[in-house]
Amino acid sequence: MTTLKALRNTTPRQTINTLIVVASMIGAIVFPWVVDPALVGVGFIALIYAMRNFTWNIAGGLVGLLSLAHVAGFGIGAFTVAILTWGHGVNVWLAILVGMLLSGLVGIVVSSIMSRFGVNAFFFALGTAALSLAVSGIAASWSLTGEVDGLQNHTSGEGLLHLQWFLDPKPLYYVALILLVVIVCFTMWLTSRTRFGRSLPFIREDPDMAASMGIDVVRNQALTMGLSMALTAIPGSLIAQYTSFVSYESVLTLEIGILMMVGAIIGGSSTLAGPIVAGIGIAALEEGLRAFDVTSSSVSSITQIIYAAIVILILRLGADGIVPMWNALLDRLFPSREHHEVEPELESNDKEPAHA
């Protein structure tokens, strides 16, 4: 445990960021009680965007798989709830699990096949895009998924067991918040405490070197893709419960898939916080535009354009995204004392007997 303590040398940046995280957690908890009830729905959507970006980033940012297949996972999550729960009365939580399993399976299969054939990053993006379009086309022409008309929720159960509340959006908001926190904590645990999670940066940076360190690159990529897509099914299921309506146009367009990718990159795909910040940011942006009395169909169009413009700008400037930029700013404002602390240690180190 001494190692851990030594690693956790708190820099001013870490202190500030910890404070921000705590503050935003408190903010997120009290949010539904201090704002106009209509805004609770906006908060819910923001959480969905954050969850979507974050779960995409597990594959996209941590391992560098630029996947456009995740929208298929999102859609699978939504449609599984619609078909099983709305259509056949299966418990919604069970349906969510089934959706996660299906979506995760798609992720594992896609990644395994792509690695098997040695597909490069461009083809990975292209191939996964084709897959999503194919799935979307199938959903649009299959009676099970309601063809172009989609599926409606007519169930009447209310409460946590049914994940449905007719008048008050607060419970669903908290469910989304708790799930987001659980997913984030799980990912943090995975990436910092397990061999599997710690191997991911090596796979991203240099698969060949990773292999020579005993990392099973193909397997870990496939598992990450599976995990990432399984988790992406969760926001899909939640949005289905929220809107009580699912169609291929509302949950299975490639544009959603691109938004996940773009959102994660804007926030900073090398960080865990980045995709969440960007997700909440775009929801706030959408709401802000509504305040300007823009027609509702244009609101999403304008936010998409702004989104695209920001990501192009960030890449053009060679920046890493909002959170890394923020961290760099903090580091410049509050230089760490680390360097002065460790100099004496060096000398004592050199005199230490070589370890046997």
């Binding site: 190692t3 710690r198 292999a211 005993g214 240690e345 370890h355």
Partner: protein, 238 residues
């Protein structure tokens, strides 16, 4: 003990290695020297499973390494360092060493303890929170060496770990190589720093144009006319 027998490798029509055979016993340092383009790095790539030979066999303690993927070769006890670590700038120093330590243990805190020991032993502890891209390039190779040690290998392949180090740093690394050798690890090192080769090598294998032209002690090979012509004559000026 590493046994390389009649290994050959060619890329397209270009023969890089022809009929290469040598052994590297456990507890000894075998230096692989030769002019640039002699095929040293290719040989290291073949042993570590990066490349597969066109002919010949490679065995470690009687176990077959030939045609095994790199990850498997690592699990069997072969650890290597890299000459070029261009695209690994984002990786964390501590994590690099800790990752390799997973060969010894599955336990989180054990792995971290091994990584800490190695980093301290190599004088790298002060760099632990840095990214590889933020530390001196010469130090990246030392991190690589520490990484190799953390896996507790049977065979350690050191690919020019001393290049660019100051003489004082070379001494630290030399001590580490000795300590490692004394634990019974077979070490194969490609090295241009003659200070290190002279100090460490129990035997020397000289490669030129993809063939072994001499083996033996440093004194033996430096007496060979062929070696002088191919290598030492030019190397002495650098």
């Amino acid at each position: 003990m590493l046994e390389v027998a009649e290994v050959a490798k060619s890329f397209g029509g270009l023969r890089v290695l022809t009929d290469v055979s040598f052994t590297a016993p456990a507890g000894e340092v075998t230096a692989l020297i030769g002019p640039n383009g002699a095929g040293k790095s290719t040989l290291v790539n073949l042993i570590s499973g990066y490349l597969q030979p066109n002919a010949g066999r490679i065995q470690l303690d009687g176990e077959e390494l030939t045609s095994r993927p790199a990850a498997k070769v690592f699990k069997m006890g072969v650890s290597r360092t890299f000459q070029v670590t261009g695209n690994t700038a984002e990786l964390n120093v501590f994590e690099c060493v800790a990752m390799a330590a997973y060969r010894q243990s599955k336990d989180f805190s054990t792995v971290n303890r091994i990584a800490e020991e190695q980093l301290r032993a190599f004088g790298l502890w002060r760099y632990r929170t840095r990214r590889l891209g933020d530390i001196p390039t010469a130090m990246v190779r030392v991190v690589d060496f520490a990484r190799g040690m953390a896996s507790n290998p049977k065979l350690l392949l050191l690919d020019e770990v001393m290049a660019g180090l100051t003489p004082a740093e070379v001494d630290v690394v030399i001590d580490q190589v000795r300590a490692c050798r004394d634990t019974g690890v077979a070490i194969v090192m490609i090295e241009h720093v003659l200070q290190a080769v002279t100090a460490l090598a129990d035997s020397v294998v000289v490669l030129n144009n993809g063939q072994i032209i001499a083996t033996g002690s440093m004194q033996d090979v430096s007496r060979s006319e062929e070696v002088r012509a191919a290598y030492l004559g030019r190397a002495a000026t650098t």
